[in-house]
């Protein structure tokens, strides 16, 4: 009944770089705390630094994914979440295993093994994910745009063909709709010739999805056509 949107390796790499930065910051803070222990014993301070660095590096993702139900700082920032492949709640051994197996995914450098595996895997899983039966999904948070404000219209001729309007709503992708919203929102910042080309291409894209009869599109410029399409997509009359 529902489907997950899988996170791409690129988004995961970006989230990982944020997590790496977080680990470095945590280690710097811990290093400063360890320095305080040097007042008692330099050996103890050194030991704390060595062990602390290791523990933070290993435990960071395990603890956060456990506490935040599949999210770390980087994953939260990019709207990603680790999930059980069957949509069930994550179990602690799954989280521990997928993170411990990073050592193989990181080989030989910069997650090459994990990245290549994720690209070729059906569920975009790295080796750790395969072993732990987990997937990384992208959480979809729809910011419903204020269509009345960005694309006002007194009459939408496309709605006179309700069966075609319904088909258009079904065929358009979230990316296509988001692109059209962005183009309309930023229209005043484009050079006029560039604007004409942009809306011509967007209108052509939507026309390829569903072709409305001529009487519904008569006298509509490309930009007006895109505005009407947006009102159809977001169900505004």
């Amino acid at each position: 009944m529902f489907a997950f949107e899988l996170a791409t390796p690129v988004t995961r790499a970006l989230a990982w770089s944020v997590d790496t930065a977080a680990i470095i910051v945590a280690n710097i803070i811990f290093g400063q705390i360890a320095k305080l222990a040097a007042a008692m014993s330099a050996d103890l301070a050194n030991a704390m630094s060595v062990a602390g660095f290791f523990v933070i590096s290993v435990v960071y993702a395990i603890v956060l994914e456990w506490r935040w139900r599949g999210q770390t700082i980087g994953k939260r920032l990019f709207g990603l979440r680790v999930m059980d492949i069957h949509g069930l709640r994550l179990q602690f051994p799954q989280i521990a295993l997928r993170n411990l197996l990073r050592v193989v995914d990181m080989l030989p450098f910069f997650y090459l093994v994990g990245g290549v595996t994720a690209i070729f895997s059906r569920n975009a899983q790295r080796l750790g994910d395969m072993a732990a039966n987990t997937i990384v999904t992208r959480e979809r948070k729809a910011d419903i745009p204020d269509i009345e404000r960005i694309a006002p219209a007194k009459y939408n001729s496309l709605l006179s063909q309700p069966h075609l309007a319904a088909r258009l709503r079904g065929l358009v992708t979230p990316e296509g709709a988001a692109l059209a919203v962005r183009a309309i929102t930023l229209r005043d910042s484009y050079d006029p010739p560039a604007r004409v080309v942009l809306f011509r291409e967007l209108a052509a894209y939507f026309r390829r999805l569903v072709e409305f009869p001529e009487e519904s599109t008569e006298n509509l410029t490309d930009e007006q056509y895109v505005r009407c399409v947006l009102r159809v997509i977001y169900g505004v009359r």
Binding site: A47, W68, L100, G170
Partner: protein, 326 residues
């Protein structure tokens, strides 16, 4: 069929928002146990949102809105349909879970021991047949010196060479050995080939060192040096190998009818118990190696060190063999 989508969305949105708020609360406060009325409300909201999603699916609608609702329903699904009990930290389960997991996969442990012994035999014969191969087989500079020279240095040392550095040396040993163990386990993902190579290589080093010292007549020194920490450290690495072979077995899946994800799901708790148990063992081994193993006669008599190592080995065997038996 929904005729008026904006009206439907406006009517349903409060329920979607309520479900999202409830799920967010459960995310941020994982220990919170919902009261019965809250559980019933969660179930109602889940059913209502699922029905809404099904109705939206029957009528073409904004894909972003459908995606948002799918995310919400999937989150609620994982809360409602999870039948596995959430893992809680119970000391008894931790204490007995590790030896039970070890015993459930004795075949993999035997294989791990067998590969290491094969490596030992190879290292032993390589050194005995060609003493010059020492430079290739020994990974550390300290092992390249002649055993007689090393034993003389250790037994006549007038000052503690680890003075003021024991704790940091111990921490380095712990982290290094835990890394080796985790890598040995993780290499199981190469269908066990990586695990096999690592175990064999460890065995080669062990066999080569043993051959070098025993041939020079320093068997007692060697036993006193290695046994206090090695009686825990070597089994821990063998446990990493056991984990690697369990993983490889689940990937290959000879003979069974279950699917690969089912097999991997079944072994995950045991793998975690084994690697966690091995990590604790290596913390102990790191302390023993820094604080006991590096001190020789006359500071600590060899007999005492060997007896200590034997006691550890017996205690470990008893724990892994009998703890948690029903």
């Amino acid at each position: 069929m929904i005729v008026d989508i904006p009206r439907f969305v406006a009517a349903e949105r409060p329920y979607w928002d309520e479900l999202r708020a409830l799920l967010d609360r459960m995310d941020s406060e994982p220990e919170t146990r919902l009261a019965l009325p809250q559980i019933q409300r969660l179930h109602y909201l889940y059913e209502r949102c699922s029905a809404g999603l099904a109705r939206l699916d029957t009528f073409s609608t904004d894909p972003a809105l459908r995606g948002q609702l799918e995310t919400l329903v999937s989150r609620a699904y994982s809360e409602i349909h999870e039948t596995r009990e959430p893992k809680k930290i119970r000391w008894k389960a931790i204490l007995f879970g590790f030896p039970r997991a070890f015993r459930r996969h004795l075949g993999a442990f035997r294989l791990s021991v067998g590969i290491t012994l094969l490596g030992c035999a190879f290292g032993w014969f390589a050194i005995r047949m060609d003493p010059h191969s020492k430079a290739v087989l020994m990974p550390f500079q300290g092992l390249l010196n002649s055993p007689a020279e090393r034993v003389h240095q250790e037994e006549t040392a007038s000052k503690d060479r680890l003075s003021g550095a024991k704790a940091s040396f111990s921490a380095q040993l712990m982290t290094h050995n835990i890394q080796v163990t985790v890598v040995t386990l993780a290499m199981g993902m190469t269908f066990g080939v990586g695990t096999l190579i690592l175990l064999f290589y460890n065995g080669v080093i062990l066999g080569a060192v043993a051959a070098d010292y025993i041939a020079a007549g320093f068997g007692t020194f060697l036993t006193g040096w290695l046994l206090p920490h090695g009686s825990v450290e070597i089994p821990a690495i063998l446990l990493g190998g056991q984990g690697g072979f369990i993983l490889a077995g689940a990937l290959i899946g000879w003979g069974g009818r279950s699917t690969r994800p089912e097999r991997l799901r079944a072994i995950a708790p045991d793998l975690f118990a084994i690697v966690a148990g091995a990590a604790v063992m290596l913390v102990w081994a790191g302390m023993v190696e820094a604080f006991i193993s590096q001190y020789h006669k006359p500071v600590i008599p060899y007999g005492l060190k060997i007896a200590f190592g034997v006691c550890e080995l017996v205690a470990l065997s008893a724990y892994l063999g009998w703890a948690g038996r029903e």
